[in-house]
C-alpha cells in the first residue's frame, strides 16, 4: 500500500509538468482523459458511502490500468482529514464524495481546499442549480415521515404548523439538530422560508402570525413553538424509524426522516411513508457532491472517476451510478429515471437547500436551538 502510494507520487512528479493544465483537463472527454489517467495509475476517493466498493470494481473493469482506492468515511471526518492534510502540505486524496455541503462550502470551497468540476459529457443533462457552487451527484431527503399502517387514510399532517398543536405534543420526533448537520440544515431552510411559513400559519390558524420579540420571522417562530410542544430528540435515524414506523403501533408519532429508508419497510417491519401534501413543504432535499481536492495528485483520473460516477446513458445509470440508485434518493442527471415506486422528484414537496445560503444562516439557527433545549 505504502509502496504503491510512493510509486504513484513519484510517477505524478514525473508526469505532472508535462501534462496539460487543469483548465484543459476540465474540457476533456473521458476518452481523452483515459490515457492520462492510466499514466497516473491510480485515484483515491473519500466516500460517505461504503457502496464505493461496488464502484471500485466497476471502474477498474471499465478503465483497466487505473487503480481506484476507496476510503469510506463520514463527511465530518473527510473535512477534518482534508484540512489537516493540506495544512501539513500533504496532497494525497483526489476526489471527495461528501454531503454536509454548507460546511464543505465554508471550510473547503471558500478556503480553496477543493474545486468544482463538471464533466462535459453530462453537463447538458444537469440543472444549473446542481452544478454550482458544487456539483451534486444525487439528492437525499430529510422529510416528514408517518406510519401508513396506523394512518391508513394518508398523512395526518398537511400543514407543518399542525406539529405545534396540542394534539401533537410529544409526538413529533427528529434526530437532534444540534448533533447532525442535515437536521440543522432542515431547520435553517424552514427559517429561510419565513414568508411561506407565515402564509401556512394563516392557512392553519386563520389569523396573522405574531412573532415573538426574541426570534426573527415565522420560520424561527415555528422552530420555537415546535420545541415548546415537547419535540422529542433522538440520537440517530435507526431509533427514529423504529419509533415512527413500527407496523403494529397504535398511536405512533411522526417525524423528520429519510425518505429512502422506506425501502427497508418490509425487511424491518416498518410502515414508513412520506407525508408529501404538506404546506408549505415537507422538508428538504440536500445534495451529495463530488468534488476535486486542491492539488489532487491524479487530476486526470480524478475527473475520469467523477465522470464515471454520473453513470451511462441508460435509465438506471449503469454500473457507475446503479449502486446509488435507491428509491427515495434522486439522481441530478436527468437521463437517470427515478424509482417507479417513489414520488417523482418534481412532485416532492421539499425545498432543495442552497449550500451557500444555508451556510450563511446556519450559525444563527444552531444558536437558537441551543437556547430552546
Amino acid at each position: 500500500m505504502f509502496k504503491r502510494l510512493a510509486k504513484a507520487a513519484l510517477a505524478a512528479c514525473v508526469i505532472l509538468p508535462s501534462i496539460a493544465a487543469a483548465g484543459d483537463l476540465d474540457k476533456m472527454t473521458p476518452e481523452q482523459l483515459l490515457p492520462l489517467a492510466q499514466k497516473e495509475g491510480s485515484v483515491t476517493i473519500f466516500s460517505l458511502s461504503s457502496r464505493i466498493a461496488k464502484i471500485e470494481k466497476a471502474f477498474e473493469e471499465t478503465y483497466p490500468g487505473v487503480d481506484l482506492i476507496g476510503v469510506d468515511m463520514s463527511s465530518t471526518k473527510q473535512i477534518a482529514r482534508l484540512e489537516a492534510e493540506q495544512q501539513a502540505g500533504i496532497h494525497a486524496v483526489d476526489v471527495l464524495y461528501i454531503a454536509d455541503t454548507p460546511v464543505v462550502f465554508t471550510k473547503l470551497l471558500q478556503a480553496k481546499r477543493v474545486s468544482n468540476y463538471v464533466p462535459p459529457r453530462v453537463t447538458g443533462e444537469i440543472d444549473d442549480r446542481y452544478k454550482v457552487p458544487l456539483l451534486a451527484q444525487r439528492l437525499s431527503t430529510k422529510v416528514l415521515m408517518y406510519n401508513e399502517a396506523a394512518f391508513s387514510n394518508g398523512s395526518p399532517i398537511n400543514n407543518l404548523w399542525q406539529l405545534t398543536d396540542p394534539e401533537w405534543r410529544g409526538r413529533v420526533l427528529m434526530v437532534d439538530p444540534s448533533q447532525r448537520g442535515e437536521l440543522l440544515d432542515l431547520l435553517t431552510e424552514i427559517a429561510l422560508h419565513s414568508d411561506e411559513m407565515s402564509k401556512a400559519y394563516q392557512a392553519h390558524f386563520g389569523k396573522e402570525i405574531e412573532v415573538d420579540p426574541d426570534v426573527q420571522g415565522a420560520g424561527e417562530q415555528f422552530i420555537k413553538d415546535l420545541f415548546a410542544n415537547d419535540l422529542i430528540l433522538v440520537p440517530n435515524s435507526d431509533v427514529l424509524n423504529k419509533s415512527i414506523g413500527d407496523i403494529n403501533a397504535k398511536e405512533p408519532p411522526v417525524g423528520f426522516g429519510t425518505y429512502s429508508d422506506r425501502r427497508d419497510n418490509k425487511k424491518e417491519g416498518w410502515a414508513l411513508q412520506v407525508a408529501n401534501k404538506v404546506e408549505p413543504a415537507n422538508g428538504i432535499l440536500f445534495p451529495a457532491i463530488l468534488t476535486i481536492a486542491d492539488k489532487a495528485p491524479h487530476p486526470a483520473a480524478a475527473r475520469l472517476l467523477i465522470d464515471f460516477m454520473f453513470g451511462d446513458d441508460t435509465p438506471s445509470g449503469g454500473p457507475g451510478f446503479e449502486p446509488f440508485n435507491v428509491p427515495g434518493d434522486y439522481a441530478t442527471r436527468k437521463t437517470i429515471a427515478g424509482h417507479p415506486d417513489s414520488v417523482k422528484l418534481e412532485d416532492l414537496q421539499a425545498w432543495t437547500i442552497d449550500p451557500q445560503k444555508t451556510a450563511a444562516a446556519r450559525g444563527r439557527i444552531a444558536d437558537l436551538i441551543i437556547t430552546l433545549q
Partner: protein, 581 residues
Amino acid sequence: MTSTSIVMPSGSRLLRSAFLMPAILVAIIAILVVAPLLRILLSTLTPEGLAAWETVLFSPLSTNLWWRPLFNTMALGFGVSIGCLLLGGFLAWLVILTDVPGRRALGLMATLPYMIPSFAAALAWGTVFRNARLGGSAGFFETSGLAIPDWLAWGLVPTAIVLIAHYYSLAYTIIAAALSSVGADLVEAGQMAGARRPRIFFGIILPVVTPALIAAGSLTFAGAVANFAAPALLGLPVRMQTLSTRLFGMIETGQNERGFVIALLLIAVSAAFLWLSDRIVSGRKAFITVTGKGGRTKRFPLGVWRWPLFGLALVVGLLTTVAPILILAASSLAPQGGALFSNWTLHFWIGEGGGAIAQGQAGVFRNPILLDALWNTIQLGLVVAFTTMLLGLALAYTIVHRRGSLLASVLSQLAFMPLLIPSIAFAAAYIALFSAPIGPMPSLYGTFALLVVAASAHNLPFAVQSGRSVLGQISADLEESARLTGAGLIRRLFAIIFPLAIRGLFAGAILVFVKMVRDLSLVVLLFTATSPVLSMVAYRYAAEGFMQFANAITLIILVVCLAASLIAHSLQNRVQKWKES
C-alpha cells in the same frame, strides 16, 4: 533511581541514570500529548476561537451549552466512578481475597462488560425499561402492564446505571490486580495481633490498595465523562445533554472551535479533580506489599455468607454481561430490529448471498475480507497494547519513584489527559505534527507507524494508571539488592519489575487492547488502509443499515477480546507460579 543509593555515583552516571530517563520521558510526553493539546488550544485563540470561548462561557447560550451539560457530566462522572469502585471493589475482594465458590467464573464474568460496547448495555436497558415516550414497541415492563416513569426510562439515572454496568469491570480489573499482591503475611500479622476482620479490612487492605482505587476511580470517571453512546441513546429523548454529546454535536455540525473549547474546559475540570485525588495519594506514605517474601494470597473464609455473596455476585455478573450479550446476539439473529426475539435466522452469520434477505448480502462468515480484517485487528491491538504498556510502564515507574515531586505530578497529569481529548482533534493534530519529516525521522503520513504512535498516546492513561497502582506496591529493597549486585536498569526491569508487576501490566494491556480493537475514529483518520480492521467492517455494515451484520461483527470483536484476556491470564499465572496455592 532513588537518592538513597549506597554507592555514590560519579557525575556522568548520575546524569545517565537519574536524569536521562525522566528527560526522555518528558520529551516523549511533550511530543505525544502536549503538542496536540497546544495545537488544539492555539486553534481556539483565533478570532473565531475567542468568540467561541465567549459563547461557551459568557453568553445567553452558556447555560445550555456549558453549565447544564457540565452539571450532568460531573454528576455522571462521580456517580459512575463511585458506583464502579463499590461494585468493582466488592467483586475484586470477593474473587481475590475470599473463599467464595466459583471464583474463576466470577472473575472472568467481571472482566467482560468492558469488552461489550456500551451501546449494547443501553439497548438492553431500553428493551426492558423503554416507555411510550418514543412510540414504537414498548419495553418488557410496559408490555406487561407496568408503567415506567420517564426518569427511570430516560435521562441521568438510567445513563448512570448503564455506565456503571459497563465500566465497573475496568475498576474490577485494576483493583483485583492490586489486591492479588496483598501478601498473606500482612493479613496474618494483623490476625496475630488480634485485629478483627473489619479492622484488617479498613486498617490493612484498604490503605494498601488506595492507589489502585484512585487509579480505577479516575479511569472510570474519565470513561463516564467521555462516553457518547449511553447518554445519547438514553438522554437525548428528554433533552439531557452532556459535554460529550455537546462536543460531538459541535464537531458534527462544523462548529469545531466551540467543540474544542468544550473539550479543553472538560480537560481542565477533570485535571483539577485528578490533581486533588493525586494529592490524597501522594500526601500519605505508600505501602509496600510486594517484598519478595511470601507472596501467597490469604483467603478469608466467608462462612455462612459464602453462598449468598456468591449469588449476589452471580446476579450482578449475569445482568451486566448476559443481558447485553443476549441483546447483541439476538440482534444478529433477528431479521427485524423491532422484534429481537422472533424469526431467528443464521443468515446474517453464514447465509449465502443472493437471496431475498438483506438485499442479497451474504453472512459475515462468507465475507471474503473477514479473515483479513480479523488478522489486521489482532495485529493492531497487540502492537498498540505492547507499545502503550512499554511507554506507560516507563512513565509509571518514574512517577512512582519520584512520588511527590513536581516532575511526577506533572507527568501523571499529562499522561491522564489523552483520554479526554476528542479523537478527531487528536488525529488532526497528529497528521499536522508528523506529516512532515522531523529531523532524521521520515514523514509518517498514512503509515501504520503513525497510527501506532497516536493510539499509544491516546491509550496512555490506561497503561500509566494500571502500571503505577501496581508498581507503587513493589518494595524498593528488591531493586536495591539487584543494583548492589550490579544489575542495570533493563536487567532490573525484566528480572524483577516485570514478573512482579505482570498482573497489573497485563490488566492495563488488556484495557488498551480492547479499546484499540473497538475504536474506529483514529484508524479511519490516520491510516489509509485498503486492508480494513473489524471495526471498519462493522461500520460499513451499520452505515448501510445492516445492523444484524454489524452486531455479528461486534460479537466477533468480543470473542477476540475475551480470548486475549484469557491468554493474558494464563501467561501471568505461568510467570507468577508462586501465586498458585
